[in-house]
């Protein structure tokens, strides 16, 4: 997926990004077993300022690792993450602290990502204190302001996480992320752990905040309906690779990659007349020893022959702007 031309208004640009983890945990086991888990294996994409890129895939696709790499919570094995055209992989110390102000993360499970021993006020105050953004006198009013921004009254400042509902906890998580006035926010499955009636509230809040604060989002989720609702562009990941990147409308009306099609076909519709779901057989193979050629070929219903298991497909940009890594489109490149 090559969009290497920089300075096209992209806030974040990812180029050939890789992250390998050792298959075994401790050093002794690693001596005996040098295999690696290729969690992210050479992906490239860019996120223009003020837009939302949805990142979808099943478990093991590498979407969460991608988010953590961009947030610099973990270092890449190879490749670049460019923030405002500057590679952030080698930064450390003071520079890294500056980056933390610009790039923030909202996590999936608000009950485990908030400190149980701290009140909502203390949780939201911490980043303000670390980055020395607000004077002691102004702190209280800034906290109230942040809480109101996420739809919580100031009474919540003194509550502990267990005294709040899941939706309220996620609002606190959002307030903490936004306290440092970031430009880029990585939302990692932000509504997955919430009840259905609360999900819509949080999605609306995230979209309102994007408008108000001019935020750029990387929105990671396995739920394609949610991703369709919030994203401008969507990247589909499978086993550490991006198989398709397309504008949201294009992806959902005319998915190109066989995996994207299967994923869309497998989603249940809230409509009893929608007809049977498409069933993709088999399971996601191990990322330690991914299949040769195209990683999807063992499960692919549209295989065209030898080339699929012999040659890894390159990203091809189609006339409608969709970029797809599949041999089906070898002759259609722009």
């Amino acid at each position: 997926m090559s969009s290497l031309n920089s300075n096209d208004g992209s806030l974040v640009e990812v180029i050939g990004l890789k992250k390998y983890f050792p298959a075994r945990g401790d050093w002794f086991a690693q001596m005996l077993d040098r295999r690696q888990i290729k969690a992210v294996d050479g992906i490239s994409f860019s996120v223009p300022t003020g837009t939302t890129l949805g990142l979808v895939g099943e478990s093991g696709s590498g979407k969460t690792t991608t988010g953590r790499l961009i947030a610099r919570l973990t270092k890449p094995t190879a490749g670049q993450v460019r923030y405002k055209s500057k590679d952030i992989a080698p930064v450390s110390g003071r520079q890294l602290k500056g980056l933390r102000r610009s790039v923030q993360m909202i996590f999936q499970d608000p009950s485990s990502s908030l400190n149980r021993r701290k009140t909502a006020g203390q949780i939201v105050k911490e980043p303000l204190r670390i980055h020395e953004l607000v004077s002691k006198q102004a702190m209280e009013s800034r906290l109230v302001e942040l809480m109101e921004m996420v739809g919580l009254s100031h009474h919540f400042l003194n509550r502990y996480p267990h005294e709040m509902s899941g939706g309220q906890r996620q609002r606190v998580g959002i307030a903490r992320a936004l306290a440092v006035e970031p430009e880029f926010v990585i939302c990692d499955e932000p509504v997955t752990a919430l009840d259905v009636s609360i999900q819509a509230q949080i999605l609306n809040l995230l979209m309102d905040l994007q408008d108000q604060l001019d935020l750029t989002y990387l929105f990671i989720a396995h739920d394609l309906s949610v991703v369709k609702h919030v994203s401008d562009r969507v990247a589909v990941m499978y086993l550490g690779k991006i198989v398709e990147i397309a504008d949201t409308d294009a992806l959902f009306s005319d998915p190109k990659h066989p995996y994207s099609r299967a994923l869309l076909g497998a989603i249940p519709r809230p409509d009893p007349r929608a007809g049977k779901r498409m069933v993709l057989h088999g399971e996601v193979p191990s990322p330690i020893n991914p299949p040769s050629g195209c990683r999807f070929h063992p499960r692919c219903p549209e295989q065209i022959g030898e080339i699929c298991w012999q040659k890894e497909p390159d990203g091809i940009t189609l006339p409608n702007g969709t970029s797809v890594a599949c041999h089906l489109y070898a002759d259609e490149g722009r």
């Binding site: 259905v196 999900q199 509230q201 609306n204 396995h222 994923l263 007349r273 929608a274 498409m278 069933v279």
Partner: protein, 350 residues
């Protein structure tokens, strides 16, 4: 057609609705009447299931949808006789083929559980014993309910794994749960559930922990098994899309109460309860045009210890009037197969 004379009509959904009175009696597997299950905790009395009635017929899939705390899982545990201290089934009746389950002894329930009524739980990792191989776990169920020999049990276990479409069943027999993927673990649990040909299978969020492509595989399997063994299935889930795809009839629960019941097509084409409507509107839909904002239900699900007065949904309901805040709406039959608990029901039906 002969089916005409029997009074069987085939609906557009493809499901067969029996209208012959005697047949209804015969095919009724479960009948729950006014079930009240409460938990006496230190913080107060949790009214988990608050006077609900429902039934299940052979060959149908009944969906029970609701959010956390709606009482859907406690309903299932009550049927299974698995309510433990501080929980208590206070009143009501659970008839299994006309037989009162609430009067059974522990020993009698042990016979029924697994053999007549089986349940598949949400998290396959926690419902399998990590120290036993797949083969041993299936053999344990068979040992309990059948008198098969060792060799027969092994053969039956392989046969069951084949039925649930486990890849390489002979090899998987010797695997431990941690060596299997989430989807395979769920297949093992389903194999255990159907091992004694139960008449009722309760699936409690069977695919919540699984990826969507694996979820589609599991539901394809469940449909196949249902047709093969003529079981009645209760599917408990929070996912309205899953219900639309795999159920014949749906019950919507909110804060311990059934608020609406309808055949699946009717529920989605003409939802009546304001909660059902709110839920259906609030989920982002793939086939709809992108909306700027999702219509959301304001507020939060109430605590079951401090339920509001009147209708449980009234504090969040945009149609609520004075009466809703004070009087509990009873659930009433409004059409064949449709029940509704809402004071404003009359207005919605017109």
């Amino acid at each position: 057609m002969r089916s005409e004379s029997l009074g069987i009509s085939t609906e557009s959904s493809g499901s067969i609705v029996f209208q012959w009175e005697d047949m209804v009696e015969d095919s009724r597997l479960l009948e729950i009447r006014n079930l009240v299950t409460r938990f006496y905790t230190e913080e107060g009395v949790v009214r988990a299931v608050d006077g609900n009635s429902l039934h299940l017929d052979a060959g149908e899939t009944l969906g029970i949808v609701g959010e956390s705390g709606s009482g859907k899982t406690v309903t299932a545990l009550s049927i299974m006789g698995l309510i433990e201290n501080p929980g208590l089934i206070e009143s009501g009746s659970i008839l299994f083929r006309g037989d009162e389950l609430l009067e059974k002894t522990q020993q009698e329930m042990l016979e029924i559980r697994g053999k007549e009524i089986a349940m598949v739980f949400q998290d396959p990792m926690n419902s399998l014993n990590p120290t036993l191989t797949v083969g041993d776990q299936i053999a344990r169920v068979l040992h309990f309910h059948t008198s098969l020999s060792r060799r027969e049990k092994k053969r039956r276990a392989i046969e069951l794994l084949r039925q649930v479409e486990m890849p390489e069943p002979e090899k998987r027999l010797g695997n431990y749960p941690h060596q299997l993927s989430g989807g395979m673990r769920q297949r093992v649990l389903i194999a255990m559930a159907i091992s004694c040909n139960p008449t009722v299978v309760i699936l409690d969020e069977p695919t919540t922990a699984l990826d969507v492509t694996i979820e589609a595989q599991i539901f394809e399997l469940v449909d196949k098994l249902k047709a093969q063994f003529d079981m009645g299935i209760i599917l408990i889930t929070h996912d309205l899309a899953v219900v639309a795809n795999s159920c014949d009839r749906v019950i919507v629960m909110y804060a311990g109460r059934i608020v609406e019941e309808a055949p699946v097509i009717d529920l989605y084409e003409n939802p009546l309860h304001p909660y059902t409507r709110g839920l259906l509107n609030s989920i982002p839909q793939l086939d709809k045009e992108k909306q700027e904002r999702l219509p959301s239900i304001p507020g939060e699900v109430p605590e079951l210890i401090t339920l509001p007065e009147g209708c449980n949904f009234s504090p969040r309901c945009k149609y609520a009037v004075e009466k809703c805040m004070h009087d509990d709406p009873p659930i009433i039959k409004i059409a064949p197969g449709r029940r509704l608990a809402c004071w404003k029901a009359g207005e919605f039906i017109e």
